[in-house]
């Protein structure tokens, strides 16, 4: 590696701002306040297993819902005429560019007991439903915020599926279901795996959605980590241990994902 390489500044940056901080996280996770080595922090994390399981469960739920909802949409958009495609894409991307917090906050207004949705049901005499401050609200918030992140990779992959392939399959006698399961689905797997990655990772580590829509009682692992650093239970060592556990979980999930998909070498980021 020559110093003349134009990548040199970046390599230095990478070392200082990516590798060293992660090293610090590991360091904080295995030391106490006085600096001695300990595995206590990591075992302490096991007290919060139910929170970790909750986070994974809700994130997985949100990811699956996103996938199921986005798949037909991406397909429809990818088959539409060129200019209509552009318009529809724009409509999908627009909420994504609006501030994340504002979008989550907007749902608070709708879901409250005296909120608009309950008022709407009230018109029909259906009693007010408990919507906000539940796990369901958190999943809803996740789906709402990350839906465009699932639509875009799926769309990007589906545009590459030549219409003629589908026509050929239909000519050969495949009904809609077979066309879908034997042609479209296998060809869209790279998009599915990118989409799942782009939704699951932020969903499992979010902390704003659970606080604003979950009522502060449905904690996720992101909330716990935030509590240890800038919240009420200041303990950076425990927080670092939790971050370590979170990273390991994500690594595990990613490698499971990768084993489903052996063909691509690089993730497709938009």
């Amino acid at each position: 590696m020559k110093a003349k390489s134009p990548a040199f500044p970046y390599l230095v940056w990478m070392a200082v701002f990516i590798i060293v901080p992660l090293g610090l996280v590991v360091y904080f996770a295995v030391t106490t306040e006085t600096g001695e080595f300990t595995l206590d922090n990591i075992t302490h994390v096991s007290q919060y297993v139910s929170v970790i399981i909750s986070s994974i469960w809700l994130a997985a739920l949100a990811t699956v819902i996103c996938l199921v909802v986005s798949y037909p949409i991406s397909f429809v958009i990818s088959r539409a005429g060129f200019s209509r495609q552009k318009t529809m894409l724009m409509l999908v991307m627009l909420p994504m560019w609006m501030n994340f917090l504002l979008r989550t906050y907007a749902w608070m207004t709708l879901l409250e007991n005296n909120g608009l949705i309950n008022k709407f049901f009230g018109l029909f005499g259906i009693g007010p439903f408990d919507m906000i401050n539940t796990q369901g609200a958190v999943v809803l918030g996740m789906v709402y915020n990350y839906l465009p992140f699932m639509i875009l990779p799926l769309y990007s992959v589906m545009t590459k599926i030549d219409g003629k392939v589908i026509e050929a399959a239909q000519d050969l006698g495949a009904n809609t279901f077979h066309v879908f399961s034997k042609v479209v689905l296998p060809l869209s797997v790279p998009g599915i795996s990118t989409g799942i990655t782009m939704v699951f990772v932020p969903a499992v580590s979010t902390f704003i959605i659970s606080r604003m829509l979950g009522g502060g009682g449905n904690l996720l692992i992101g909330d716990l980590i935030e509590l240890q650093f800038l919240g009420g239970s200041y303990n950076p060592h425990l927080g670092a241990a939790m971050s370590l556990v979170l990273m390991v979980i994500i690594l595990l999930c990613m490698s499971i994902m990768n084993s489903f998909d052996s063909e691509q070498e690089e993730a497709m980021i938009l």
Partner: protein, 267 residues
């Protein structure tokens, strides 16, 4: 039947995406502070928003950081992509894997690790740390956008330019850069977008003097809520809409021009 079904489905999804935003916009004109009962029309909250020093300075900070971070990360990222492209296979895959880390890592871990770093170095949290943090998570996006373009580029063009007498530097600027320019631009735009909307990393690396807009909004939502937030989201929505419309029009024009050229060629 199928078409109607898919149309209805699309409508439902778009309704789902836009309902909260539209509700926010409607209530930004509400006379009372209520978020659910509309009492009267007023522009008061917009006036108050423009006088709100905290929001205005937060907006300024956000734009400043986004511009600096995206320009810096584009420069560093493009240089890095070129350097990585020229590396041997093992080193390249190592560097690329590390580059992926800020993208694949949950934002909260990136934020926390950077906060620990700044504490370790003893750097006070403020505008500097904010910019450094933003550059850190923006550069990978630039690299990922420039690399494919480098791969698509025909390396013989670069060599041909040198054969024709250009110095390597000149050949670089006259041949390579124009070829990868689309990737650079896309990378720059992505970096700008991610920096503008970033909340989690900023939350851990910002100080009292350099609040960004998302953080200012977060503190607003934790207290007694004012419809100023609604006014703010309406304005942001309109701004984003305008930008996307402009981009669309520009693309449509370029497409028209390209198709007209094609027609001209075929004649």
């Amino acid at each position: 039947m199928k078409k109607a079904a898919s149309r209805i489905y699309m409508l439902l999804v778009f309704l789902f995406l836009y309902a909260p935003i539209i509700v926010m916009m409607v209530f930004s004109f509400n006379e009372s502070k209520s978020r659910t009962v509309f009492t009267g029309f007023t522009l008061d909250w917009y006036y108050k928003l423009f006088q709100n020093d905290v929001i205005i300075s937060a907006l300024g900070n956000t734009m400043l950081v986004a511009v600096i971070a995206s320009i810096a990360s584009t420069v560093i990222g493009t240089a890095a992509a070129i350097g990585i492209f020229a590396m041997n296979k093992r080193l390249r895959s190592f560097v690329l894997n590390v580059t992926y880390i800020p993208i694949l890592n949950p934002e909260i871990v990136t934020g926390v690790s950077l906060m620990l770093l700044f504490g370790f170095i003893g750097l006070n949290l403020g505008l500097t740390t904010l910019v450094l943090a933003h550059i850190t998570f923006c550069v990978p996006y630039v690299i990922l956008n420039v690399m494919p373009k480098l791969r698509q580029m025909n390396i013989s063009l670069y060599e041909a330019a040198q054969d024709l007498g250009c110095s390597p530097v000149r050949a670089f600027f006259k041949v390579v850069i124009p070829e990868i320019m689309p990737g650079i631009i896309t990378g720059f735009l992505m970096a700008f977008t991610y920096s503008l909307d970033d909340f989690v990393v900023s939350y851990f690396t910002t100080g009292a003097t350099s609040q960004t807009l998302p953080i200012a909004i977060y503190s607003m939502t934790r207290r007694k809520v004012s419809p100023q937030i609604n006014a703010l989201s309406t304005l942001i929505f309109i701004a984003v809409l305008l930008i996307l419309l402009l981009m669309n029009i520009r693309d449509a024009r370029a497409y028209k021009r390209a198709s007209q050229n094609k027609k001209g060629d075929s004649l």
